[in-house]
Amino acid sequence: MNHPPVAITGIGAISALGTGTAAQLEALRAGRSGIGHLTHLQLPFPELWFGEVKATNTDLAALAGVDPDRSRTVLLGLVAAQEALRDAGIGADTVVDLLSASTVGGMDRSEAFATGWMTGGVDGIDRAPGHAVGDHALQLARHLGLRGLVTTLSTACSSSANALMLGAWLIRSGRAEVVLAGGTDALCRFTTAGFRALSAMDGTPCRPFSADRGGMNLGEGAAYLVLERADRAAARGRTPLAYLAGAANTNDAHHQTATSPDGEGPYQAMRAALEDAGRAPEAVDLINAHGTGTDNNDGTEQVAMERLFATVPPFVSTKSATGHTLAAAGALEAVFSVLAIRHGVVPANLRFTAPIEGSRSAPNTAPREARVATVLSTSFGFGGNDSALVLTATP
């Protein structure tokens, strides 16, 4: 390892488990689920199960200190990003680069005008620029007063894992000293109708890695992490929460929306991330798995884990508690990984029923205390996109 270590000096999150990292930790420790029917969002899916953030846009705007007339994606992102910067003690005097991730961006506002500006009308046309997925990042940078590079990663469900990887690259290459990296996605009609059209939704609360799993529950949320060159953090007297020791992205090159039976892309991503971190598979104490709850994902992901590890370490899908937060998932689960390391907690894979046929491993089903020094966190997405992060207690 001939590059400077990348320290994590601040974290922020909002999800179905609550607002703020303390609420996430409390829920993970208690094994509490955030899955339920919608109570705050006006979407026409009363029968479906979601990981909804229990706040209206007005509530979120008040938390973020902004006008609520903007995409929920931006509001969620602001709440999490503000917490991360505050946690890191980073003020306006520091140049911070922003690598943000989203899949839907301003879609929650665009979809109300599908028969307006999208079809030649002028109804809602002033909102059209907010449709572009990258616009959310510019709004975040503006409200946070960031003065560095701003860009948006959009690689479907691996987006924010890739934002964290790029953040590490910026710091290791000497291009940046402090990077705010993460992702945000709000629930909306487009993604809900989309995953339903793909028959990927469970009609009940999801059961990742179970033999009788029936699909995913969609979630929403945002999570951001402050990445900082370790010697800079030390120079200003900050003890890192953890380190982003390694990261990798690969492509399965098998199918637009399904993983290959042997899990080659996920396997290579996990292998390469550990190699990047200079860690052997035996060092991994916990795998924060992608585990969407779909037949294809969980089966192939478990095959990939069993290929890489002689004995698969404890693994969990926290999507059983949060739902699948799409572009936010990689960063949200990186925050959970940091919490696992900091507080010695192994979260639960909720609602597990029975092992997948032919598997020789099973997820951790109840929260427990344990020493956690190394976490492997995975995120896979459409387009064959596979990412893995290695988060550690020491550089």
Partner: protein, 272 residues
């Protein structure tokens, strides 16, 4: 960083001009049949760059797009409106993610390396190029396919006419479709030029040099030592990539391409 190959096209709807799209003969037929036309043209352009560089499979793919798969996104939104409550066709939503094009290139070529997609308006390609440079600094022998593409829909003409107040667009320039792809890195092969520098950030972090002319994009006023490139590339978020291909083809020591998206500026300095 050495540029081994470059391919580009611009399609100007309603202009009467025929777009010259490189690489159409290279498309795998069964796959091409399932693609909508702009994705087929983009894919052909990427394959043309790889063919020029003499490689079958890049070690990494870095891609940018301002608006992603706009036609499929709009199609699925309209499908939701039309058939609310009933089962919807999944084809358009499967193809609607921003990384569809980069994923399809990987699928066609069995390219299993890093596959990154960036979307930040007129600075989308800059981020892809920066990622490619960082990948090559880590793995100097690798060959990276880097590019950008954006579709055109009549919807964009509608928005342009209603909202284009802030744009510095030469007379007559209209929303267009376009793409450009490049092969960077590798220990040997043809040399087309080089990327001298890529910078992104607010204006104060993107300093211009005075020893190379400045070509400016749609949201940047023309510089004293240069001109807008938009009349040559057409107006679309991947125009900076097309402009880089044009700059490589032009004589001269180098060109600085300056673009902007909101407060973000993007600068690419290329030389032959």
């Amino acid at each position: 960083m050495i540029i081994r190959a470059a391919a580009h096209y611009t399609l100007r709807p309603g202009s009467g001009e025929e777009a010259v799209v490189p690489g159409m003969e290279l498309l795998p037929k069964p796959m091409a049949r399932r693609m909508i036309a702009p994705v087929r043209r983009t894919m052909a352009c990427a394959l043309a760059a790889l063919a020029e560089a003499g490689i079958e499979r890049p070690d990494a793919i870095c891609y940018g797009t301002g608006l992603g798969c706009l036609a499929d996104t709009r199609e699925f939104l309209l499908e939701i409106e039309r058939n609310a409550g009933s089962l919807l066709a999944p084809t358009s939503v499967m193809r609607s993610t921003h990384n569809t094009v980069a994923g399809l290139i990987a699928l066609a070529l069995k390219a299993q390396g890093p596959n990154l997609t960036f979307s930040q308006g007129f600075t989308s390609f800059h981020a892809a190029l920066l990622a490619a440079l960082m990948h090559l600094e880590r793995r100097p022998g690798d060959r990276v396919l880097v590019g950008a593409s954006d579709e055109h829909l009549p919807l964009l003409d509608h928005l342009f006419d209603a909202l284009h107040g802030a744009a510095h667009v030469p007379a007559g320039a209209r929303p267009a479709e376009g793409a450009a792809f490049f092969v960077l890195g590798g220990a040997d092969g043809p040399v087309k030029g080089r990327v001298v520098d890529v910078r992104m950030g607010p204006a104060d972090r993107v300093p211009l040099r005075d020893d190379a002319p400045v070509w400016t994009g749609a949201l940047v006023p023309a510089a004293a030592n240069g001109a807008s490139y938009v009349h040559r590339t057409g107006l679309h978020h991947s125009a900076p990539a097309v402009a880089m291909a044009l700059a490589l083809a032009d004589a001269g020591p180098g060109v600085q391409l300056m673009d902007r998206e909101g407060e973000q500026h993007g600068l690419i300095h290329v030389a032959r």
